[in-house]
C-alpha cells in the first residue's frame, strides 16, 4: 500500500507550535508512506490540488491529512481523494489543530504529539477498507403524530406538495389546544375562526388520511422505510354510517357523570359526546367508563334515536399498519398541574396557591374557556363557584416556570403574552373590573408583542406588580393574594374575586414513552431533543424523524406553525430523491461464528438486529444468527463491544483499525 501524508500549517495555526516540516520528515520514514509533504493551507484549492496531483503522481492508495478536526474538513479531503480516484474511506485525518497545536504551548511536546497522532492515523489507514455508500429506497408518505395546529400545518404542507399523509390524533377530534383558546395575541382574532377552516381542509384533503382517537403503538424501520403500527380506539360508533346529527348526544340520559375535558373540567358532558361542536371529524365517541349500557347492559337510548344504526356497542380497538418514509412528531404540550404533588413526582406543585381547593383559583386554559364565546359561560366572565362576575382578578405569571424549587427551570415563553391578553379580554368584558398581574419579568419578544403588552398597561389599565405571590387564602368570599411588590419594596395584598395562574407548559402525557417507541432522545423535562439547537432545530437525532411545535420546547402559535412548515419541508426534501444515500459506517455480523446469543439485539438502540436463519445446502435451517439491517443501523457500534465472540465489526471503525491505532500510541 502506498500512503500519502499531507501536513497542513493552517496558516500559522498549526505551524506556530508544531514543527510541520519535521512532522512530514518523520512520517516519510514510516513503512508504507510513499510521499509526505507539508503545506500552508491544505484545504485551499492549491492544497487540494497538491493532494490530487500527489495521488496521481505517486499512485497512492490512501492518504492521511494532518490538519484541523475531521468534523471540519474530513468531507473536503474525502472529496479531493474521490476526485483523484481514491475511495473516500481511505482518508484519515489526524487532528493536529484542535487537539494539538491550539492546546499546547511547548513546541517540542506539541511536535512530538503531532508525530504520534500522525503515526496512529497512518497505522489506521493501512487497515482501512474501501467502503461504498448504502442506498435505500424511500416510501413517500409521512406520518404526522398530533393533530394540533402544528400537526395540521405539517400535514397540509406535505399533502399540498403531493405526498400522502397519515395524521394520527389521540383525541376524538383534531384541533389541539388552539381550538380551546378564546382569542389569540397579539391581534385578538378568534382562535376558532382561523383554525376551523384549516381543520376542514385537513378532513377534505384527498392526500390526508385522518386517524383520530388513535395512538401510535410501535415504530419499526428507519428513514425512508418506517413501519408504523397504529391503534384506533373503539368509538363504538360506526364512522361510515354516522352523519353527525348529534341526536345521540342530545338524548343521552347521562348528563353529569363526566367532566368535559375540552372545557377544562368546567362543564359536564354526556356519555356519548363530541369534544366540541366544530369537531373534525364530527363523529361522537361513547365513553365506556360512564355509559349505562356498559355497566348494566340496559339503556341503549342512543341506539333508539339513531336512524342510521351507527351505534355499535361491540366495536373493538383496531390495529392499522402504515408504511411511511418520514415521521413528524407534533404532540404538543399540556399545563403543569399546580395541585399538590406526590412525593415521587419530579414537580413540586403549588399547594400554597390553593388550586383544586378553591374553585375560583383556575389556570390559564380554564380562563380561556370562560372567556370563549363557545365556552361554558358563553363568553361572560363568571366565577366557577357561584357564577358571579368577578370585580377583581389577580393573574399570576410564572407558576411553575422559572422555578427550580418546583422542578422546572425553563421559561414557558407564552405566559407573559397570554396573561396580558386575558387581562385585556377581562377589562373589555367587565368594564369596572380590576386586573392585577404579578410578574417576574415581561418577556414580549416578537412582532407586535411588546406593543401589545404596552396596550394592556396603557389603554386597558391592567395593573402590573413585579413580584412573587407567597400565598392565597379565602376570607369572606374573597381570595387574599399575598405577595410582594419588589419595585416598591413592600408587601402587597389583593382581595381578588378570582385568581388565574399562568402555569408552565410541560410535555404531553406519554411523551417519554412515545420518544422511546420512535427512538428519539428527550431532555430531562420530556421535551424532544432536536439534532442541533441552532442548525438543525426541526430534526431529531433519528434520521427521518422531525419535530414540530411545543413538543420540542414551549412555543406560541406562529412559532409552532413555522416549525411545522419547516418539518414538512424537511420531509419533502427527503422525498425529492427516490433513494437515499447513507454513510456506510454500519455493523456487520460474521455469520460463521455468531453463536446466536442475541445480546446485540438487546443493546441495539435502533432495533437494527434481526434473527436470520442460516440454511445448509439442502435448505434446512441449521442455526440462527444475528443479522443487522444496514438501513436501520446507525453505526454506534455498541453491539460490537457487547458481542462476546467478536462476531460483529463496525465498518470504518473495525477492530483491526482500532488495534492499529492503539499499537501506535
Amino acid at each position: 500500500m502506498k500512503i500519502g501524508v499531507f501536513i497542513c500549517h493552517c496558516g500559522e495555526n498549526i505551524s506556530s507550535t508544531v514543527d510541520c516540516p519535521r512532522v512530514a520528515d518523520v512520517c516519510r520514514t514510516y513503512t508504507g508512506v510513499e510521499y509526505s509533504v507539508d503545506y500552508k493551507y491544505m484545504c485551499s484549492d492549491p492544497g487540494q490540488n497538491l493532494i490530487k496531483d500527489a495521488i496521481h503522481k505517486y499512485n497512492l492508495d490512501a492518504i492521511v491529512v494532518g490538519s484541523c478536526s475531521p468534523h471540519m474538513h474530513e468531507r473536503t479531503f474525502r472529496n479531493a481523494a474521490v476526485s483523484a480516484g481514491i475511495n473516500p474511506f481511505m482518508v484519515e485525518i489526524a487532528n493536529l489543530r484542535e487537539h494539538c497545536s491550539w492546546v499546547h504551548d511547548n513546541i517540542e511536546a506539541a511536535t512530538r504529539k503531532a508525530i504520534e497522532l500522525m503515526r496512529m492515523a497512518i497505522e489506521k489507514v493501512k487497515r482501512d477498507k474501501p467502503l461504498t455508500k448504502i442506498k435505500v429506497p424511500i416510501t413517500k408518505r409521512v406520518l404526522v403524530i398530533g393533530g394540533g395546529i402544528a400537526g395540521i400545518q405539517a400535514a397540509l404542507d406535505t399533502a399540498n406538495a403531493g405526498y400522502e399523509v397519515v395524521l394520527v390524533e389521540k383525541e376524538p377530534s383534531i384541533g389541539g389546544h388552539m381550538s380551546q383558546l378564546s382569542e389569540t395575541f397579539p391581534t385578538l382574532d378568534c382562535s376558532q375562526c382561523i383554525l376551523t377552516p384549516r381543520m376542514v381542509e385537513v378532513h377534505q384533503h384527498p392526500k390526508i388520511k385522518l386517524m383520530t382517537y388513535s395512538e401510535v403503538e410501535r415504530v419499526e424501520g428507519f428513514i425512508g422505510n418506517f413501519k408504523v403500527t397504529i391503534k384506533k380506539k373503539a368509538r363504538h360508533i360506526n364512522e361510515d354510517k354516522c352523519s353527525g346529527c348529534g341526536m345521540c348526544i342530545t338524548k343521552c340520559p347521562i348528563k353529569k357523570k363526566a367532566y368535559n375535558s375540552f372545557e377544562e373540567d368546567l362543564a359536564f358532558r354526556p356519555a356519548v359526546y363530541v369534544p366540541f361542536p366544530q369537531a373534525i371529524p364530527n363523529i361522537p365517541v361513547i365513553d365506556e367508563t360512564v355509559c349505562t349500557y356498559y355497566k348494566t347492559g340496559k339503556c341503549g337510548m342512543c341506539v333508539k334515536v339513531c336512524d342510521r344504526e351507527a351505534i355499535d356497542f361491540g366495536q373493538k380497538d383496531t390495529i392499522h399498519v402504515a408504511d411511511v418514509g418520514a415521521i413528524i412528531v407534533a404532540t404538543g404540550f399540556k399545563l403543569y398541574n399546580i395541585d399538590k404533588k406526590s412525593a415521587d413526582s419530579k414537580y413540586k406543585g403549588y399547594g400554597e396557591y390553593g388550586y383544586g381547593k378553591y374553585r375560583d383559583v383556575i389556570d390559564g386554559l380554564q380562563f380561556e374557556r370562560i372567556a370563549s364565546a363557545s365556552g361554558p359561560t358563553s363568553g361572560e366572565i363568571k366565577r366557577p363557584s357561584d357564577g358571579r362576575v368577578p370585580k377583581k382578578i389577580a393573574f399570576i405569571q410564572c407558576v411553575g416556570s422559572r422555578d427550580d424549587s418546583k422542578g422546572i427551570s425553563y421559561c414557558s415563553k407564552i405566559c407573559c403574552m397570554y396573561t396580558a391578553k386575558q387581562a385585556m379580554l377581562y377589562r373589555h368584558k367587565v368594564h369596572d373590573g380590576e386586573a392585577y398581574i404579578f410578574y417576574m419579568d415581561i418577556r414580549a419578544g416578537g412582532k407586535m408583542y411588546e406593543e401589545f403588552v404596552r396596550r394592556a398597561i396603557e389603554e386597558d389599565k391592567v395593573k402590573y406588580i413585579r413580584g412573587r405571590v407567597s400565598r392565597i387564602y379565602e376570607e369572606d368570599g374573597k381570595y387574599i393574594v399575598k405577595g410582594e411588590d419588589t419595585l416598591a419594596g413592600m408587601p402587597v395584598e389583593i382581595d381578588a374575586d378570582m385568581v388565574v395562574l399562568a402555569t408552565a407548559m410541560i410535555p404531553q402525557d406519554g411523551a417519554e414513552s412515545l420518544a422511546r417507541t420512535i427512538g428519539i432522545p428527550y431532555d430531562k423535562y420530556g421535551f424532544f431533543n432536536e439534532a442541533h439547537p441552532k442548525l438543525r432545530p426541526v430534526e431529531s437525532t433519528t434520521a427521518g424523524v422531525f419535530l414540530a411545535g411545543a413538543c420540542q420546547s414551549p412555543k406560541d402559535i406562529p412559532e409552532s406553525v413555522s416549525m411545522a412548515s419547516a418539518a414538512a419541508s424537511k420531509a419533502i426534501i427527503l422525498f425529492a430523491n427516490d433513494t437515499l444515500e447513507r454513510e456506510p459506517v454500519v455493523a456487520k455480523v460474521n455469520e460463521d461464528i455468531c453463536a446466536g446469543c442475541f445480546y446485540c439485539m438487546k443493546v441495539c438502540p435502533f432495533g437494527a438486529v434481526e434473527v436470520k436463519d442460516v440454511k445448509d445446502i439442502n435448505g434446512i435451517v441449521y442455526k440462527e444468527v444475528a443479522y443487522i439491517n444496514q438501513g436501520v443501523c446507525q453505526g454506534c457500534g455498541t453491539c460490537t463491544a457487547t458481542c462476546l465472540s467478536k462476531s460483529i465489526e463496525l465498518a470504518g471503525f473495525n477492530n483491526e483499525e482500532i488495534f492499529a491505532e492503539i499499537a501506535a500510541l
Partner: protein, 294 residues
C-alpha cells in the same frame, strides 16, 4: 433413586424425550456424566453428593440438534440438574442457547455436594458454592426428586479469601494475581467446562486482529484471565466448575464470585435466578451508578 430411574425410563419409553443426560456411579465417591438414549440403560442413573459435574455444559445447540432429531420429529432432551445447575440452564435460556420447551429438567432437593471426587461428604469437604447456597430446591423443574436434608455447616473460606485479597495493597494484589495467572498453561479447560462459554469461536481464538495473545506468557495469561472473568461478569451463575477443571489451581471462581458480588451490589442482580428478569448485560437502568464518571 428408583423414582428417578422409573421417571427417566418412562420418558424414554413414551418417546417424550430423545435422551437423558445424567450421572452414573463409577466408584464409591465418583460419578460420571452419561447420555442415555436406551430405556434399558436408565438403571445406571444416580443422584447423590458426588454428582459434581454441571451437566448444563452439554446443552449446546449442536448437541441438542444431534440428539433430539428422531425421524423428522424433534423430541425433548431430559437433563438431570442440581438446583444450581438449573441456574446455568436459566442463563442459557436467557441467552437464546436453548428453548425452555425443548428441555425436560429433572431436578432434586439438594443438600450440597462434595468439593471433589474421593472426599467424604461432610462440612470440611463441602463444595465452596454449597456453603452459601440459597436454592436447595430448584427454581425451575419438570420433575423433582430427592428428600430434603440438612446441609452440613461450613465456614465461607472463599469469602474470607476475597476479603483478604481486598485488604492487600494494589501492587501486592497485582503480583498475587500475576503469579497465579502465570501458572496458566492455556489449556482452556475452564472454557470447556463452563456452560456459559458456548461461543462458536472464542475471543481468544480470534487472530485478525489478535485480541488476546495466545502464548502462555505472563502478558497473554493476564489478558486471557481478565477477559475470561469479564466475559462472565454478570453472567456467571457460580457453579465453580472452572475451579475444579483448572489443572493449575488458579482461583478462577474466586474472581467470578467477586464479580457476582459486584453484580449484586451494584445492580441487585444474580444471574440465572429468574427467566423474567432481563439479563444484566444487554439491559440498563437510567439510574445506574454514575459515580465512576467525572
Amino acid at each position: 433413586m428408583k423414582e428417578l430411574i422409573k421417571h427417566a425410563r418412562e420418558l424414554l419409553e413414551n418417546g417424550e424425550v430423545a435422551a437423558v443426560i445424567g450421572y452414573r456411579q463409577v466408584s464409591a465417591k465418583r460419578t460420571k456424566p452419561v447420555i442415555i438414549t436406551d430405556p434399558e440403560e436408565t438403571s445406571a442413573l444416580v443422584f447423590n453428593e458426588y454428582c459434581l459435574n454441571n451437566l448444563a455444559v452439554y446443552l449446546t445447540k449442536a448437541r441438542i440438534k444431534l440428539l433430539c432429531k428422531k425421524n423428522d420429529k424433534v423430541l425433548k432432551l431430559a437433563i438431570t440438574a442440581k438446583p444450581c445447575d438449573v441456574h446455568s440452564i436459566v442463563a442459557l435460556i436467557q441467552e437464546n442457547q436453548i428453548d425452555r420447551d425443548t428441555i425436560h429438567i429433572i431436578s432434586f432437593n439438594c443438600h450440597g455436594v462434595a468439593k471433589d471426587f474421593g472426599f467424604d461428604f461432610n462440612g470440611d469437604n463441602l463444595a465452596s458454592k454449597c456453603i452459601t447456597c440459597e436454592t436447595h430446591k430448584p427454581l425451575y423443574y419438570d420433575a423433582l426428586f430427592g428428600e430434603v436434608k440438612e446441609t452440613p455447616q461450613a465456614s465461607d473460606t472463599a469469602l474470607a479469601r476475597i476479603k483478604e485479597i481486598e485488604s492487600m495493597p494494589h501492587n501486592e494484589r497485582f503480583e498475587f494475581f500475576k503469579s497465579e495467572f502465570d501458572k496458566c498453561i492455556k489449556c482452556y479447560a475452564c472454557r470447556a467446562v463452563c456452560p456459559l462459554c458456548y461461543c462458536q469461536r472464542c475471543i481468544t481464538d480470534k487472530t485478525i486482529p489478535c485480541w488476546i495473545e495466545t502464548s502462555s506468557h505472563q502478558r497473554g495469561n493476564f489478558a486471557w484471565n481478565v477477559i475470561r472473568a469479564f466475559h462472565l461478569s454478570g453472567r456467571c451463575t457460580g457453579c465453580g466448575e472452572c475451579d475444579r477443571a483448572c489443572p493449575a489451581d488458579i482461583p478462577l471462581s474466586l474472581i467470578n464470585r467477586k464479580m457476582s458480588m459486584e453484580a449484586k451490589n451494584l445492580f441487585s442482580f444474580v444471574s440465572g435466578r429468574s427467566l423474567e428478569t432481563p439479563t444484566l448485560v444487554g439491559s440498563y437502568n437510567e439510574k445506574d451508578n454514575n459515580e465512576l464518571f467525572m
